[in-house]
């Protein structure tokens, strides 16, 4: 490999990039904008679930019970309905996600020591939301049940309230959150967003690299020049790897300074694995660019290949462990997941090479495989 020829290709590519002011601007601004928007916007606490109630009992106790829903920040009260018939319309139109129906004789039954059945209708179109809604309802019911039981024991057994309370002391649970002690969702999303911004943005930088020259015909200059395949590909990649490396630094600074995410691990480990990751993400774009013959195809394929697995299978929101077997397999085929482990590990957990070596190795293998594929796909003697 002749380094001077590599430098020549790289400087030609660099000039092409810097001449296109808008492209250059977007290449640097895009990851930062994403970090900003998603860092503040991708919050994952489900709140304000809109609901309507049907109170058939109209008693003091039913009002007391429903009041707990009105007060909760997880629920947004919409309207009190007369009958169940209207409930359909509210759920179907999507204006309410839940309907709470308090039966007749709710107070009478509970005060006489009988159980009462409260029905909750939940909009199941989005299973995650349905699941969370259900667990909020159960939590409110459990708290209410505990108070009912205290009252009941005090009344029926002739105990004082404090004695009844003591007898019903609930089994406690002390939860300690590790690594992200205050459970801020920004702390866990922001390190993963470094992965997201690079994984979605970087392939596009190189996606048009070769196919553009094919479409405009300038590739024939390369075919007839003395530059070898390897020199050409390395030279093509260098400017974009540099841009992405600068972006890693900017994103890291944003995470630490703007979002105040603690960086507990080794900076060198982070830098080394980031360089590997940038190589693989830009390499994906280059390989796509070699495979297709139009820029339109290169654009769309790169966007789909980089965006979809990154959103779904890289541990950004949905943890890899809760995927199905087939999807876990697919997750392991994309580099995003490994780099998510590394960013979360170095930011929040202070784990070192001893734990992360498999992820780093996977990225290294990825880079080598992409390089080999690229090398074999690119030929200076095209058949047509």
């Amino acid at each position: 490999m002749n380094l001077r020829r590599v430098a020549a290709v790289a400087s030609k590519e660099w000039r092409e990039v810097t001449r296109d002011r808008m492209f250059l601007l977007l290449a640097f601004v895009m990851p930062a904008i994403w970090m900003f928007v998603f860092g503040y916007g991708l919050v994952l606490d489900v709140e304000h679930i809109s609901f309507v109630v049907v109170d058939r009992d109209h008693s003091a106790l039913s009002r007391d019970y429903l009041y707990r829903f009105y007060q909760s920040r997880y629920f947004d009260f919409q309207e009190a309905l007369e009958g169940e018939g209207d409930a359909d319309v509210w759920l179907q139109s999507g204006r309410a996600r839940a309907v709470i129906i308090v039966p007749e004789k709710f107070q009478e039954r509970l005060l006489s020591g009988q159980p009462a059945e409260v029905q909750t209708l939940i909009d199941g179109t989005f299973p995650l939301r349905a699941d969370i809604t259900k667990s909020y309802v159960i939590a409110i019911n459990n708290a209410f049940n505990h108070e009912l039981l205290v009252d009941f024991l005090a009344r029926t057994r002739g105990l004082s309230r404090s004695e009844a309370q003591r007898r019903t002391s609930p089994l406690g649970i002390e939860v300690r959150y590790l690594y992200n002690e205050e459970v801020r969702s920004t702390w866990s999303t922001v390190p993963a967003l470094i992965m997201f911004s690079l994984m979605v943005g970087s392939p596009l930088l190189t996606a048009l690299g070769v196919v553009r020259e094919k479409e405009t015909g300038s590739i024939y200059n390369i075919y007839s020049a003395t530059v070898t395949r390897l020199e050409f590909l390395v030279g093509k990649l260098i400017p974009y790897v540099m841009i992405s490396a600068v972006n890693v630094a900017v994103l890291w600074l944003m995470a630490v300074l703007l979002f105040a995410v603690p960086f507990k691990g080794s900076l060198w480990l982070f830098i080394a694995s980031s360089v590997l990751f940038v190589l693989t993400s830009t390499g994906i774009g280059l390989v796509v660019s070699l495979l297709v013959s139009t820029q339109q195809a290169a654009l769309i394929i790169t966007v789909v290949v980089s965006t979809v697995p990154t959103i779904l299978f890289s541990g950004l929101i949905v943890p890899v462990s809760s995927l199905s077997r087939a999807s876990q397999f697919q997750a392991h085929l994309f580099p995003g997941m490994y780099y998510t482990n590394i960013t979360r590990g170095t930011f929040l957990q202070n784990v070192g090479l001893a734990v992360l070596w498999t992820d780093i190795l996977a990225l290294a293998i990825y880079a080598v495989v992409l390089g080999t594929i690229g090398y074999h796909l690119f030929t200076k003697r095209p058949r047509t």
Partner: protein
Amino acid sequence: MKPADRLVVWCRRLTVMTRKELVQLLRDIPLMAFLIYSFTLSVYVTGNGIQTQLRNAGLLVYDADRSLSSRELVSRFHLPYFRFDGELIHADEGFRRLDRGRSMMVLDIPARFHEALVSGEPTAVQLLVDTTNAPQGLSAAGYAARIVGQFGQESILARNGLTASSSAPVPMIVSDHRVWFNQDQNETWFESISHLLRMITIFAVLLPAAALVREKERGTVEQLLVSPLTPVQIMLPKVVAMTLMILGATAVALFGVMQPIFGVPIRGSLALLFSLTALFIVATAGIGVFASTVTKNQAQVGMMTLLVVAPILLLSGIFTPMETMPAWVQYLMALSPLRYFIEIATGILLKGVGFDMLWSQALAMGVVGASLFGFGLWRFRRQFQ
């Protein structure tokens, strides 16, 4: 020329140009192969694979009591939510195991746990949760709290000589949940629908954007402009051709994968679904048309559209519920046609509702789409004057 003749000529030109665009698209073999992959295999894998509810959270147990009660409590943490990863010999082993990242939580049961439960002394179990993934950690802690709470409640009842059975009734609220529209909480339904919408969005923005910029980059747009075609007749056929293409792919996804394999119900009107899908595609294409007028080459338009598409995909309520978004995101996303279309698509497919329930969403989507499209058209015209 009579107005009627003019209309005929106008339509004929549109048809000819649309055919040209379709031929051009069909000729791009890698692109077509990828279109088919995106609407079939990709929908299948995603629909099958994504589970947003808690699954398989690795649980380690340190049981200092080794009693009937402690074993009973541990046995309540079971699949599909929790995966038992083994018992620890020493309490401090938990941190090291969590560091390695294979397990997610450690349940620590204190000595004399059983005695305390029977005698009614206050006692508590300890839970260590890995919250590097905060929502997942919180969700696991929530499930655990529910299990422990239920267990505690039962032991209170037992201690006070009460049981939940009818022989000795206890005043308590029995929760009866009915999940509507998807009784079994089948996640493949929602995930495959949301993936389909994700794919429609990507293709609807990028295809026309790239096609329009290509003409500009190569200079072929100058040739079209000196022909009798108006700018509208140049732009509209591209959008029409791509809308037809994407509608076809949507039909393949719906009738080839989602309905036969996942059993996604089609409870509402198919005609309504496809006409509103067409409206959605055109509305979303407006973003691409606009992007194509502010950029000069394909590299720029790719970056520009991706800058906008990524937030649309993540924040429109197809990935996480709209209820999770901060207020400013909800306002911002009022501009995203996808935000309305998710309600429309799930409404027609799962809820089986008609236009009378969906008109407000359709209207909002139409208004956003018409503004985006109108703005794009205005810019497109202007740049050639």
